[in-house]
Symmetry: C2
Subunit: 222 residues, 2 copies
DNA sequence: CGGACCATCGGGGACGCCCCTGATCCTGGC
DNA sequence: GCCAGGATCAGGGGCGTCCCCGATGGTCCG
């Protein structure tokens, strides 16, 4: 992953940002603090340029601006084909939606532009080895989005109104079982399944098995 | 969040680990390196003890062993009621499943037992302020689990076989729209919707709209 | 120009989903 | 003992889903 020919192979980097001044600054910092470690292969100022640069140079790491003309940094990750390239977001924004959106898009790290040169070099090195690099504050957003989205209390309140049998039927229906299959699985008749489903939908105030699927999926009951 | 009465309020900590020797070591380190910053309120050796200790002392931070008799650290988080308590996993294990499981369970951080005293004090301080604390290597697991579950290449391969119109119909059906509603939305007849759906199911090798819903949901296309 | 592919639509059929009424049996509580 | 609620089942109806058959017109390409 790190090298094949020897020990101290340079880490190829592509810098993507729509401000030429900022790209110049990053390049200068990397050449000063990262001499012998990283090598800037190319720069890009928008999505199209970035995709071309990445596909051509196949860098180990892409420093990626989040707010980029032509679709944002996410669009670059979506359209690039280089499989052994890692993306490190480098943004002024520390907004939760930017961080989460970028991570969902496939970024392996997210640092703000307040970072120093040596810190950036260290971050690049870690990302190129497959680690993720986040400031603790930003990682918090990601973890909230990851673990947070369940309201246990609300689930229980609704769920408690269902009887045991109704919950069994509900679970199978939400998984995509047909009434016939549920009946066979639970050793009861289709008509009984229909009765239970009718109760489930009424109690949960839903109107179809499709809504039930989404309801259960939102609550991670599958 | 940090204090009400003054500036330098101590951060209350409960230490949960089934090895007395280790708890003693942590306590000693915290009293040495964390003097004036953290205060160990209680210790616990299993899940039941831990839940009682947390509910009684309502600490700002719980140092939580992952492999704990009686259900593991996750069980402690599940059964505790103290809402302003943050959990910091402290484990020998750096296995991905442990890290991810613990984060899913609600932990705000995860450090290994190779950590030094001062580092641990710093981690506790950050967690108590709401930040997440992860070593870069461990954060990588979490981010993989978060963003990774999508195989972009595979999606494109399947998705590219669909025509533009088929994708539109597919998206609406996967969201739970009835054929009739899709028809109205796209200004076409129900019969045309049926035709497109037939193609979608055939091309994606699915057999019902329910499977399609799960297929799309697995790929976050909703 | 003919063939491939796409989008559009129709008829008809088998079966699934959802609701209605109505029924039996059992269990637990007042 | 009666009443409530839960689990079981039946018949029948309206509509949704998914398939079969077929058709027309458009575009693009060799």
């Amino acid at each position: 992953m790190t090298d094949q020919t020897g020990r101290s192979q340079l880490i190829g980097v592509v810098v993507v940002d729509d401000h030429a001044m900022f790209r110049r600054g990053v390049r200068a910092e990397l050449e000063a603090a990262g001499a012998g470690v990283v090598e800037v292969l190319a720069e890009a100022a928008d999505v199209d340029e970035a995709v071309r640069a990445v596909d051509q140079h196949r860098p180990a790491v892409v420093l990626l601006d989040v707010h980029l003309p032509g679709g944002g940094g996410v669009e670059v990750m979506r359209r690039s084909h280089s499989v052994d390239t890692r993306f490190l977001a480098l943004s002024v924004s520390d907004a939760a939606e930017d961080v989460i959106g970028t991570v969902r898009g496939g970024a392996r790290g997210y640092v703000t532009k307040t970072i120093t040169g040596p810190e950036l070099v260290a971050a690049i090195a870690r990302v190129s080895e497959g680690d993720a690099v986040f400031s603790p504050r930003l990682a918090g957003f990601v973890l909230d989005a990851f673990a947070g989205s369940i309201d246990v209390a609300a689930v229980d309140e609704d769920l408690d109104r269902l009887t045991e049998r109704e919950r069994e039927v509900m679970r199978l229906i939400a998984r995509g079982y047909a009434y016939k299959e549920v009946a066979k699985e639970l050793f009861i008749s289709i008509k009984t399944v229909e009765t239970h489903m009718s109760s489930v939908l009424r109690k949960l105030q839903l109107s179809s098995r499709h809504e039930l699927t989404r309801w259960a999926s939102d609550r991670r009951l599958l």
